[in-house]
């Protein structure tokens, strides 16, 4: 059985990826419209406050899902959920930088065994260095039973 406290002590809060992004205007618009958005700041690229929706921000992914030396836990990772903190508007067509670290690791036991939850946090910055948003990805891995 994986030692969760050991994983936390070794991997939490250590940046393991930096990636540059630029959200395309057309892509931001498509995401807004396909989710039914009607507010002009999300649907009108000419609007003075045009910005990406939270769902668009949740789609940004780091170059790596886990630190390079993170142990193989055996199971297939599943997407357990996303969270987005919107601090400032994120403007499509501008350069962004995402810095990723593991924010939390925890386990839950059920009838089918133990599930390990890994929360990977990406902090999204503008080219100027301003912190715009934070996106959490919750990865769920069913622990491989010991034989």
């Amino acid at each position: 059985m994986v030692d969760i406290e050991d994983l936390k002590s070794r991997f939490l809060n250590l940046e393991f990826d930096r990636s540059d992004f630029e959200i395309g205007v057309e892509n931001a618009l498509t995401v807004a419209l396909r989710t039914g958005e009607t507010r002009p700041e999300f649907t009108d690229p000419e609007h003075a406050d045009f910005q990406a929706t939270p769902a668009m921000l949740a789609s940004l992914a780091s170059g790596r899902h886990l630190p390079i030396d993170f142990p193989n836990l055996g199971g297939i990772p599943m997407d357990g959920g996303k969270a987005v903190d919107c601090l400032r508007p994120v403007r499509p067509g501008t350069r962004l930088n995402g810095r990723t670290h593991l924010h939390d690791i925890y386990a839950k036991s059920g009838r089918s065994g133990r599930m390990i939850f890994i929360v990977s946090r990406m902090e999204i910055y503008a080219g100027s260095g301003e912190h715009l948003a934070t996106s959490d990805s919750r990865m769920v891995i069913r622990e491989k039973p010991e034989t």
Partner: protein, 140 residues
């Protein structure tokens, strides 16, 4: 019903829902726009998705997140979603209706903040996605 400021918000109120477009064409366009392509058919082709062991083509979880934030934006045209947190409990299938809901669970009138419980259910009214949101509203 829409709300203009924090004073309009009632504890326990349910937000007016809309019918999300979960058609395969909408899902495919969404997945392409977020850079996921067609996911080997996962977001574009029911038969190819089934070959991957899935029950059919999927609505991406973050697309459902988008349906929920849209509902909030429609409810509060001057509101700003500060945080949205969604748990992907089970797959949501493309080309099948889904039902979105949100209910007010807390109000901070001084800070202009509202907490919402969120859910997305499938046609059988089984919860597929649930979560919470914190929304900032004008206090004046």
């Amino acid at each position: 019903m829409t709300v203009a400021n924090i004073g309009d918000v009632e504890f326990g109120a349910e937000l007016a829902a809309f019918e999300p477009d979960t058609s395969l064409s909408a899902v495919t366009a969404f997945a392409a726009a977020v850079g996921w392509g067609d996911g080997g058919g996962r977001f574009s082709d029911h038969d190819r998705a089934r070959t991957q062991g899935l029950p059919g083509a999927l609505v991406p979880g973050i697309m459902a997140m988008g349906f929920l934030t849209t509902m909030i934006h429609r409810w509060a045209p001057a509101g700003r979603v500060e945080r949205v947190d969604t748990v992907f409990r089970a797959p949501l299938l493309a080309d099948q209706p889904c039902h979105i809901s949100a209910v007010v669970t807390d109000i901070d009138e001084d800070q202009g903040l509202v907490e919402l419980d969120l859910s997305v259910k499938n046609e059988a009214r089984e919860t597929r996605i649930f979560g919470t949101a914190r929304v900032k509203l004008p206090t004046g």
